[in-house]
């Protein structure tokens, strides 16, 4: 059974999903790829918006979430942290 993800892992997973979609993704796509419930996803997305790691883009009646420069930098920093932790054999 897979270990439950930490809060920070969930946040990074969401950001990585958006980044993988050329920096812009629909909420439903994020929902399926990040493996979260709708309620939890909404909470995390609001949190990420508040922190400035993502921003909303409305195109007609379609909503997209875009990763910001700060969000990309956060992913890069997290990668380094992840490598350091894993080098010691400690999961993030």
């Amino acid at each position: 059974m897979a270990e439950r993800r930490s809060r920070i892992q969930v946040i990074v997973d969401i950001l990585r999903v958006i980044e993988a979609q050329e920096g812009k993704a629909k909420p439903t796509h994020i929902l399926y790829k990040s493996n979260l419930s709708h309620k939890l996803l909404k909470e995390h997305l609001n949190n990420l918006l508040q922190k400035g790691l993502i921003e909303v883009e409305i195109n007609g009646n379609k909503t997209f979430y875009k990763i910001t420069k700060k969000g990309r930098e956060f992913i890069m920093e997290f990668r380094k942290i992840e490598k350091l932790s894993q080098a010691f054999g400690l999961p993030v």
């Binding site: 920070i8 997290f78 990668r79 942290i81 350091l84 932790s85 080098a87 010691f88 054999g89 400690l90």
Partner: protein
């Protein structure tokens, strides 16, 4: 057997301990940054562990520098007297190093979640250390440890046991991940363990003293290289 430390070693030793302390504090800082993000207790434990190890090396560095300054007038080699202020300051410095190092190693071992160290399990490591001490002819192995030889051996014996566990866990991590960063961490702890083994075996040859410190230096160079590669965004896999 007496081990007379030449004056130049105190200078070299001071630089080396300062280097080790610098790496230690960097590892502590980055571990704490990880903890701030993840809030995982073992990351906090890792940060505190490296902080304690750093404190030990700082104490040793200060002691060594103090010895170097004190003995410049009696170069090229001097002996620390067995009483007086220089002797006392050496004792204080070394005890701080012993206590903080053991504390650091215990916390490092505890960072590997599945381990539950009970203090009682450490005692079996003391018995061979004390036993071997009895076999060593004479008690004045170190001119500056006339009454602490047993404690010196106990400290190194306990350190060997703890670092053997840590090296084993990090070694298994490398076998699992095949990540060269994991290998560098394993090397770091393996060299630190070799340092303690050589210091423990000092009664058999004074050459081990220099080799031990060289091993310690290699260990911290390995950890520094790992840190540089992580911060520079190095490859995760070979």
């Amino acid at each position: 057997m007496q081990v007379i430390i030449p004056l130049w070693f105190y200078e070299y030793g001071s630089v080396m301990y300062l280097f080790a302390a610098t790496i230690g504090i960097l590892l502590s800082y980055f571990s704490y940054r990880i903890f701030e993000l993840t809030k995982r207790k073992y990351h906090q434990t890792l940060a505190i562990a490296f902080f304690l190890i750093t404190a030990g090396f700082v104490a040793l560095e200060i002691t060594n520098t103090y010895n170097f300054v004190s003995f410049e007038s009696c170069a090229p080699s001097c002996q620390i007297p067995s009483s007086g202020i220089i002797y006392e300051r050496n004792i204080v410095g070394n005890y701080i190093y012993y206590i903080t190092s053991i504390g650091g190693y215990i916390l490092l071992a505890m960072s590997y979640r599945k381990l539950r160290i009970k203090i009682g399990k450490i005692f079996p490591a003391i018995i061979p250390a004390v036993g071997i001490n009895i076999l060593i002819p004479g008690q004045d192995i170190f001119i500056f440890y006339p009454f602490e030889t047993s404690f010196f051996l106990v400290f190194h014996a306990i350190s060997i046991v703890l670092l053997a566990y840590i090296a084993f866990k990090t070694g298994m991590n490398y076998v699992k991940t095949r990540d060269y960063l994991s290998f560098l961490v394993f090397l770091g702890f393996a060299f630190m363990m070799i340092y303690h083994i050589l210091m423990y075996a000092l009664s058999f040859s004074a050459t081990f003293f220099a080799l031990a410190h060289f091993s310690l230096l290699l260990g911290f160079i390995s950890l520094l290289y790992m840190l540089v590669k992580v911060r520079a965004g190095g490859r995760a896999k070979i």
